[in-house]
């Protein structure tokens, strides 16, 4: 049974956490606090946001204490990651899944936070939101869109591939109109959950994939994992988001990920399209994990057929 978290109201408390790496500068924390405040919520800062332990924002215990406190405290209504990096995986075995089932709340973030979003969806059956981390919010449009997404029980905004120049342009190698539950993930993170108790079920889903700063052949490696697992064959459709700073690293004879992925999906006859406004950047739209939607790959349009949040 899918659980939807309650939409935020004015003055609700929003925890700001860093379960992976720490934000790059203290000003990002001050700014994140201000952004949450400007949205009309009360920011609650994790104690260890600027701690460091190797590449992580504090030791596993420190990050866990901030995150689990935010997830378990009934006075906190949403938990928003401030930054990605690495470290979420260490915490998955200890997250308060049962308490989240009892007291559901909004959890949002991207990048390494994708692990947490997928694990909570899997273990607590709670809808989580793939949305920019707080350190990526840099314009009014995304601020307004996020505020609306967090406070409204309306269906979220469609994701439409938008070309800056050509209207209605979309690159969809396999046309199709599909309906299914939405599983949105960072590709590297999704594959990191394979074979673990946190691996999401993607059968019948509209699988939305994004990644950042990876070489094409490495992305193909992880797509290959989905393929050889036999599970990719059962998805309804694949929508690729933006693959920021992903390329061949200068090797001209290396095919683009677009080609490698569409070769694979074409041979499997799985509808797919590229360049949906979905990733980790400020331009990224909010995509709820677990709710039902439709993907029209010929038009490059993802729509939601239900709300992500509940009224109360």
């Amino acid at each position: 049974m899918l659980i939807k978290p309650r939409a935020l109201k004015s003055k609700d408390r929003v925890a700001i956490v860093a379960p992976a790496s720490r934000p790059a500068r203290p000003s990002i924390v001050a700014r994140a606090r201000r952004i949450v405040h400007e949205m009309g919520f009360e920011p609650v800062l994790g104690r260890h946001l600027m701690s460091t332990h190797g590449y992580m924002a504090g030791s596993d215990d420190e990050r866990f204490s901030d995150l689990s406190q935010a997830l378990s405290d009934p006075s906190i209504h949403a938990v928003w990651a401030i930054s990605g990096g690495f470290g979420s995986l260490h915490l998955l075995d200890r997250l308060p899944y049962e308490s989240l089932r009892q007291n559901p709340k909004i959890i949002l973030g991207a990048d390494d936070i994708s692990h947490i979003l997928l694990a909570v969806y899997k273990k607590a059956g709670l809808v989580t939101l793939h949305a920019p981390n707080l350190d990526r919010i840099d314009n009014k449009e995304i601020f307004d869109r996020l505020k609306k997404a967090l406070t409204s029980t309306d269906h979220l905004h469609d994701l439409v591939h938008r070309d800056k120049f050509l209207d209605d342009f979309c690159y969809g190698p396999v046309d199709g109109f599909c309906k299914g539950k939405i599983v949105a993930a960072n590709l590297t993170a999704l594959v990191s959950l394979y074979g673990t108790p946190y691996e999401p079920d993607i059968a019948g889903s509209i699988l939305l994939l994004e990644d950042r700063a990876e070489r094409n052949d490495i992305l193909d490696r992880w797509l290959t994992t989905l393929y050889i697992s036999g599970k990719l064959a059962h998805v309804a459709a694949v929508g690729f988001g933006t693959f920021e700073n992903c390329d061949s690293r200068g090797a001209f004879n290396m095919l683009s990920f677009e080609e490698l992925a569409s070769d694979r999906l074409s041979s499997m006859k799985i509808p797919c399209c590229f360049d949906l406004p979905f990733a980790q950047s400020a331009e990224s739209f909010v995509v709820p994990i677990g709710i039902t939607g439709t993907l029209d790959t010929a038009k490059g349009k993802l729509s939601f057929t239900e709300s992500a949040l509940s009224k109360d």
Partner: protein
């Protein structure tokens, strides 16, 4: 599967006068010209060869289409004249072949397969699906890199005796050179089990698939190249979450060339948190021996480790003992596996 219950299928030993197959199931030869060196070395060992038809083809970073690479793999594997299948190099692409690999054909014609890196994507699945002992050692183009590598290669592939006690390379070079200590104890203990393992990127890529590594009662070896400590952490954490490492009898982390902070040239998340520190934090609590630094995979000094044979790993304050106790090859070709 208990170590005693599992009986591996051992390939016939590689002998002078035999014919080997040269294939490229992953990426193509770096330069066609360098193939000559490999052929000269085969000649020196008294070996003949057959070359895969598609060895020099190209599709993205792969040596031709999946279909072409599969065709070479299957036709040479089925060839009764071939004793050993020797990929020329790794790279990327071998796991793409798995759903169409004919494991029955492999089981019917047990023979030597030796490689590392991307070839891990064949070594583990073939070993697990057919019981065949496969070899994590140099690809053909690297088997003559130096004496240490070459000697262990011959011990594994061209002998019916167990490899025995594994030694470290002797430093014959510049006394001023800096070598990371080759054997660091991450967790002390003593374990015995059949060997399994390979390149971590490939092991991780097989998770959640029908070819996922089975670590139960095994001595598991893991290595990689140019992956930052956080990337190694991600992949090892996946194995931890999947409960894989708890099931092992011992863990050997290889030298892991370039897996230091800043070593990947890709995503640097830390410049002062070493692989060793990460390993201590993630694996130091295990109740099995965990050692770090053996010469496996992406180092010039390279062991050849047979997947499926019994080995002993003992790590104490006074040192690390790693002994391969069982022979990997047999004198006569084993019969058809039922």
């Amino acid at each position: 599967m208990t170590p005693t219950a599992f009986e591996p299928v051992k390939p016939r030993v590689l002998k002078k006068g035999d014919t080997v197959a040269i294939i490229t199931p992953s990426s193509p030869a770096f330069e066609p010209g360098t193939l000559k060196y490999s052929l000269d070395w085969l000649h020196r060992l008294g070996l003949k060869y057959k070359l895969g038809r598609h060895t020099f083809e190209s599709y993205s970073s792969y040596a031709g289409s999946d279909q072409a690479r599969l065709e070479d793999f299957h036709s040479l594997w089925a060839d009764p004249e071939i004793t050993a299948v020797l990929p020329l190099r790794g790279g990327a692409g071998a796991p793409r072949l798995l759903p169409k690999i004919d494991f029955d054909l492999i089981a019917r014609h047990p023979k030597i397969l030796c490689g590392f890196s991307d070839i891990t994507g064949l070594l583990i699945p073939i070993h697990q699906k057919t019981g065949l002992v496969t070899f994590h050692g140099p690809t053909l183009g690297l088997m003559y890199e130096n004496a240490y590598t070459h000697n262990y290669y011959l011990k594994a592939l061209m002998s019916t005796s167990p490899i025995g006690l594994v030694g470290d390379p002797v430093d014959e070079g510049d006394a001023w050179g800096f070598d990371y200590p080759p054997r660091i104890v991450i967790a002390p203990g003593k374990g015995r089990g059949r060997l399994i393992g390979g390149c971590l990127t490939l092991i991780r890529g097989l998770m959640g698939t029908p070819y996922e590594i089975d670590c139960r009662d095994r001595i598991v070896f893991i290595e990689d190249v140019d992956e930052e400590p956080h990337a190694m952490d991600r992949m090892l954490s996946q194995l931890v979450l999947a409960g894989k490492l708890d099931q092992a009898q011992g863990i050997i982390i290889g030298d892991c060339n370039g897996c230091r902070p800043g070593g990947s040239k890709r995503n640097v998340l830390s410049l002062n948190y070493s692989l060793e520190t990460m390993l201590r934090e993630r694996l130091g609590h295990l109740d099995i021996p965990v050692v770090f630094g053996l010469k496996i995979g992406h180092t010039i000094d390279k062991l050849t480790l047979p997947l499926g044979v019994m080995a002993l790993l003992e790590a104490t304050a006074s040192g690390v003992k790693f002994k391969i106790e069982e022979a990997a090859c047999v004198d006569k070709a084993p019969g058809t596996k039922k």
